[in-house]
Amino acid sequence: MSTTATYRYLFALSLSLLCLGALPVFAQSDTATNAEEKTPDRPKNIAGHQLSIGFDIAAPVRNYLTSNRYSYELEVSYYHKKEYYWVAEGGWGGSNVIFNDLKYNTTNYFGRLGFNKSILYRESTHDWDMMFIGMRVALSNVNRGDATYTVIDSVWGNQPGVSAGKNFVAGWLEITTGMRVELAKGLLAGWNLRGKFLMNGRSFKDLAPINIAGFGRGDKNANFDFNLYLSYAIRWSRKNNPTPPTTK
């Protein structure tokens, strides 16, 4: 990370932390209110069905700000029961490496399957806000075009060459955490933080792609990433929906 980028990040982070400094004030008033309320019994399966389709809105911003890589990402989530959500994610992307002694392009598609488990108490059938933890299994088909390289040697002279293009399969596991809040009816927003662990890193020994959309740097076995999702949800009731609990 360059010095400029570091200062830019620290500036933005400082602003965020300043705003966060106001949290305890709000938190105190919430605590005072909550102390007077009596916690109801935890209900099970009070919610109906929810199917949501989301788009990573951070990706286009990142694509705009970087000239040598791009990615797009979608998410489909279905509420199963007991606060478990089945999740399917997919996307595509690519990267261009243009260095003095190395040039190549990559493109790839990827898919992930897994689940999210909400860890927040659901207040009512209409409460779809959640914080969650989850796991994913992911696969990607990576295509790398011909790589042109130059072995630079100031004594004997430079030696240029071409490494033929290749297709790779990348597989990785993810653990994720995040949250979703309903900004308007059916309109959800939220973020995911992800830890990604490549399972077949040796496949990239002869030329690791500089970026694999959905995973990150191909020359590292572990990457961390985040997404900002904007989703639209459709909902319908369960046939035998139990009566929502009442606060005593």
């Binding site: 990370m1 933005a12 990142r62 190395l102 002279g157 002869d206 690791a208």
Partner: protein, 167 residues
């Protein structure tokens, strides 16, 4: 409850957005591993008991004989020297004189080897590793040469040749 979630959401999203902007400046990572394969040779002699002992050269000069002329390196007093092999062909020649100050005659060392292209990393790019097959020399100052390790990589801790200097 929902309002508190939204409040947290906005602030954590702000932190993540800061990370997003900072991570968008993609520059080439610095190359932190040795990029070039180094051939390490040691100048040695046999002592009275028959053991091989390192023999420092007072001011050795090595010169790479290239298509564009000889490119020389003068080393300070040492018994260990690091040379490069040519990535553009399967053999190369170096001249070697133990001491430039006394005007000793030079020997020519010829290296024959196989080249193997190696990808180090996106930060460092490609390089060549070598497999030594034969090393010969003239015998003005050099008695003989033993190959102790045929694989020449970017591992700078390996020694590859023992060059026996005439008494």
């Amino acid at each position: 409850m929902i309002n508190k979630h939204k409040y947290n959401f906005y602030h954590i999203a702000a932190v993540l957005t800061a990370l997003l902007f900072s991570s968008c400046t993609q520059e080439r990572q610095p190359c932190i591993t040795p990029k070039y394969a180094s051939l390490i040779l040691k100048t040695v002699r046999l002592n009275a008991s028959g053991s091989v002992v390192d023999t420092p050269m007072p001011a050795a000069v090595f010169g790479a004989i290239t298509d564009s002329g000889t490119k020389g390196i003068i080393f300070p007093r040492s018994a260990t020297f690091s040379l490069s092999l040519s990535p553009v062909s399967d053999s190369c020649r170096w001249i070697f004189a133990p001491d430039t100050t006394t005007g000793t005659l030079a020997d020519t060392i010829t290296f024959k080897y196989n080249r193997q292209l190696e990808f180090i990393s996106n930060a460092c790019g490609y390089t060549y590793f070598y497999g030594l097959t034969r090393v010969t020399s003239t015998n003005r100052n050099i008695d003989s040469i033993i190959i102790t390790n045929t694989t020449v990589t970017n591992n700078v801790n390996n020694s590859h040749l023992q060059v026996f200097i005439r008494p």
